[in-house]
């Protein structure tokens, strides 16, 4: 090219591109654009830590400032991935410590993080600002102490839903006295009590603190003291929200909440005593996000609170809200975009609350902006699903969990194929779908035909045959993640659609009927996939080729087979096939 912009100009233009998709597109235009782009990419997202190696990432993108990495498959959340499977952070940190001295942000999901890694982070990156550990595990509060002590410019420490070995609450006291940069602290998953005076002082000296999510150990009577020191808070999570009812605690709370004119999000509420909920009424009109999923409060008290929140956009709640409460929600909260209803008694044989499909129907009818739903219930009908689909064609995420596996339409005893079919047919923008109830291959036909924007699909106890899986793999053009458990799918659809798997991030199949032989074949056919068999019964070679494997995890990768596999994971590849046959 005789004429082209100077590099600096291109770099300047590229800086406006924040989406990875755009940057990837740009990098394919020509070699010089590839070069320029890779030197100025500052943020990288690695959706599967085994799809690429730290070395490859660092070689291509030498000047990264922020990384986001995801590890274990989603079903690890439900204990389907055995302990010790992998997703270790340490190799990434040790590589990045050498190559990215200016790294500022690390955001992780479902990775195994050790205290050693945390200490290395705290000492290697002088300008480290953001650490988000979502559903991670493997570290203790000692690791947190290193972060607190050494990261002088830390802005965010967010431990959401991680499993932390709680040795003591002393870690918080490691923030130095001259540390003032904190913007966000989420320690809600920790068990032990931190020094309250250290917490008070920390909150006092950090004027930019916008998010504070306490853990259960902070009692309600201590909240006013913190709220008074941080009236600029936007997001606040309480601790245990119960105490003997005393008028002075209550009035202190009311006053303290009133002082927080910017609060938009509330969470926490463990052990709630309903009498304390009204203390928040003054701030409710500004609240857009409410997480009451730990609040074991009955429907009338929930409704009382929700009725004060006309601007609510996001509600997480237990099924104590019941159909009646959802009806109230649909009339008070017209801005609602996201609703999650969790089961209070998931293992009980009988329903303990009056929450049925009707609640979801009502909300879908009454809340025009509702686009994201997670709903646990015990009965569903095709009629309800069809109504929901017609009411709310703008769903983006629809996750329905009918608690009893393979529960049919409770009115007609038929499968719920037509109901879910209506969902995918009407909701043309649907990106995520979780199925439940009695389902045949027909529902997959509907999904393959209509769910063209679907990116993530979760299937359990559904389908009749490989035809079902074939519909999904051949029809869902945008599919990236497919997770399947306890379905009668074998190898036929998999092998027939092997190329599809290279266009996806990953496929998980557990308790299905994919034979070991088929796995080996898939591994041989597709060298750019890692086809991993997870089987705790010992080597698959000790069983016949036709024997179904326990679990199968297939993902595209440029890093080759894993080198850190535990003894219950086998990679099906050419070498393995030759060695083992």
């Amino acid at each position: 090219m005789a004429y082209s912009f100077p590099e600096e100009v291109l770099e300047y233009v590229f800086a406006f591109l924040s989406s990875d998709k755009d940057r990837n597109a740009v990098s394919l235009v020509c070699k010089s654009w590839y070069e320029i782009e890779r030197w100025c990419r500052r943020r990288i997202f690695i959706g599967n830590c085994y799809a690429v190696s730290p070395q490859i990432v660092i070689r291509r993108f030498p000047k990264v400032r922020a990384v986001k990495i995801k590890g274990k498959p989603h079903f690890a959340d439900f204990n389907l991935v055995p302990e010790g499977w992998g997703a270790y952070l340490y190799p990434w940190i040790s590589a990045m410590a050498r190559s990215y001295p200016w790294l500022e942000e690390i955001k992780l999901k479902r990775m195994v993080v050790t205290d050693e890694s945390l200490e290395l982070i705290s000492k290697s990156f002088k300008n480290f600002k953001v650490l988000v550990l979502s559903s991670c595990e493997g570290f203790t509060t000692d690791g947190l102490a290193s972060i607190a002590a050494n990261c002088r410019n830390l802005r965010e420490l967010d431990l959401r839903e991680s499993e932390v070995e709680d040795l003591s609450g002393h870690w918080l006291s490691h923030f130095p006295d001259n540390f003032t940069s904190l913007v966000s602290l989420n320690m809600s998953c920790l068990g032990s009590e931190v020094s309250f005076s250290a917490l008070e002082r920390l909150v006092s000296r950090c004027p930019n603190l916008k998010t504070l999510r306490l853990n259960r150990a902070v009692p309600v009577e201590k909240l006013p003291s913190l709220l008074r020191r941080a009236p600029q808070l936007v997001e606040f999570g309480t601790g245990a929200y119960s105490a003997e009812i005393q008028t002075d605690i209550f009035s202190n709370l009311v006053e303290a909440f009133s002082g927080c004119k910017h609060l938009k999000s509330l969470s926490g509420f463990w052990d709630v005593v309903p009498a304390y909920l009204p203390a928040m009424y003054n701030v409710c009109s500004r609240i857009t996000s409410l997480n009451l999923s730990y609040a074991t409060v009955q429907s009338p008290d929930l409704v009382e609170l929700i009725s004060q929140c006309p601007n609510l956009k996001c509600l997480w709640v237990l099924d104590y809200i019941e159909d009646a409460g959802l009806k109230a929600l649909s009339s008070y909260c017209k801005d609602l975009q996201e609703l999650r209803v969790f089961p209070s008694d998931p293992y009980g044989a009988e329903p303990n609350v009056s929450l049925t499909e009707q609640g979801l129907v009502t909300v879908s009818a009454g809340c025009p902006k509702l686009q994201s739903v997670l709903y646990f219930c015990r009965q569903m009908s095709n009629a309800a699903l069809i109504a929901i689909a017609r009411n709310r064609p703008n769903f983006i995420r629809f996750r329905l969990c009918i608690i009893e596996p393979q529960a049919p339409d409770y009115l007609t005893l038929e499968p719920l194929d037509t109901g879910f079919g209506a969902i995918v047919e009407n909701c043309k923008e649907l990106r995520r779908l979780s199925l439940s109830g009695l389902l045949t291959d027909r529902v997959f036909e509907y999904i393959g035909t209509h769910a063209k924007k679907l990116e993530m699909l979760s299937i359990a106890f559904a389908g009749d045959s490989d035809l079902g899986l074939h519909h999904v793999l051949s029809g869902c053009e945008s599919l990236r993640k497919l997770e399947i458990r306890d379905c009668p799918f074998g190898h036929k659809a998999l092998l027939a659609n092997a190329a599809k798997l290279e266009t996806m991030r990953s496929l998980w199949m557990s308790s299905c009927s994919v034979s070991y032989g088929a796995c080996k074949l898939l591994g041989q056919k597709m060298p750019r996939l890692n086809v991993e068999v997870i089987d705790e019964r010992g080597s698959p070679n000790s069983r016949p080729e036709t024997c179904p494997v326990e679990k199968l995890y297939v993902y595209r990768t440029v890093a080759g087979p894993r080198v850190d596999k535990p003894d219950f994971v086998w990679t099906m590849d050419e070498d393995a096939a030759l060695r083992l046959s």
Partner: protein, 233 residues
């Protein structure tokens, strides 16, 4: 000709609905979609030793489902807790709810637990007794029980008739003015209250101990009751 897969059929782990016998060996495949399945149909692992399925087609066999890895072949539906990871609830949510359930049970001593033992003292009796308030559904039953319990002591008119009279408000003033006894209780706040003012359940919740007092001492406790009686009588 038996395929290689066929050789292993007898020992192969198959997925089968109970009662499905050879497992779809009528050549049904996905045509059985509309089949209404009764609620009672259960799913569990069944070792299918039946080699009726001659075509050895795994796809046709594999339209049945497997819920649990347990090697039971009973027809009993598996309880939900046997299925790993189902329903898909994160463990920190499960734990929170379980802990809250326990917390409620231990904190709420009378509401949550199945007994509500309180000490009972009667003025003039040489020793105290204990009663379980949850054994009774009404004040009357409690009074009957207390009368029987303390009938061996000479405590004046504090026999069963005395207590029963107490229930009759028209006699209340006489009782309170006289030397008849009156049941009182100490509530959660440590105050001594006249028995009978509040609904029975609320009383069981609040009562920490009982004391049968002499009438003249009991007068100051519930003046409103006396007023009520005066107004009615």
């Amino acid at each position: 000709m038996r395929s290689i897969m066929g050789d292993y059929e007898e020992t192969e782990l198959r997925l089968g609905l109970p009662g499905a016998g050879g497992g779809g060996n009528e050549g049904e495949t996905s045509r059985n979609n509309s089949g209404k399945r009764g609620f009672s149909e259960t799913v569990d692992l069944k070792l299918n030793l039946n080699s009726n399925n001659s075509d050895g087609n795994q796809v046709e066999d594999m339209k049945q489902k497997n819920l649990i890895q347990a090697s039971t072949d009973s027809a009993k539906p598996p309880s939900k807790t046997q299925v790993v990871g189902w329903p898909p609830v994160r463990s920190f949510r499960k734990n929170v709810l379980a802990v809250q359930k326990n917390a409620t049970a231990t904190d709420d001593k009378s509401g949550g637990s199945s007994t509500a033992f309180v000490k009972v003292s009667v003025d003039g009796a040489p020793y105290l007794r204990k009663v379980d308030l949850k054994m009774y559904q009404s004040y009357q039953q409690l009074y009957d029980a207390l009368s029987k319990m303390f009938s061996s002591f000479t405590i004046g008119n504090c026999g069963s008739q005395g207590l029963k009279d107490f229930m009759n408000e028209s006699k209340l003033i006489d009782l309170l003015n006289g030397s008849d006894c009156v049941p009182t209780y100490e509530d959660k706040d440590g105050d001594w209250m006249l028995v009978g003012d509040v609904p029975w359940e609320m009383f069981v919740d609040a009562c920490k101990r009982l004391r049968i007092m002499k009438g003249s001492e009991a007068i100051g406790l519930a003046p409103r009751t006396i007023e009520r009686c005066k107004n009615r009588c």
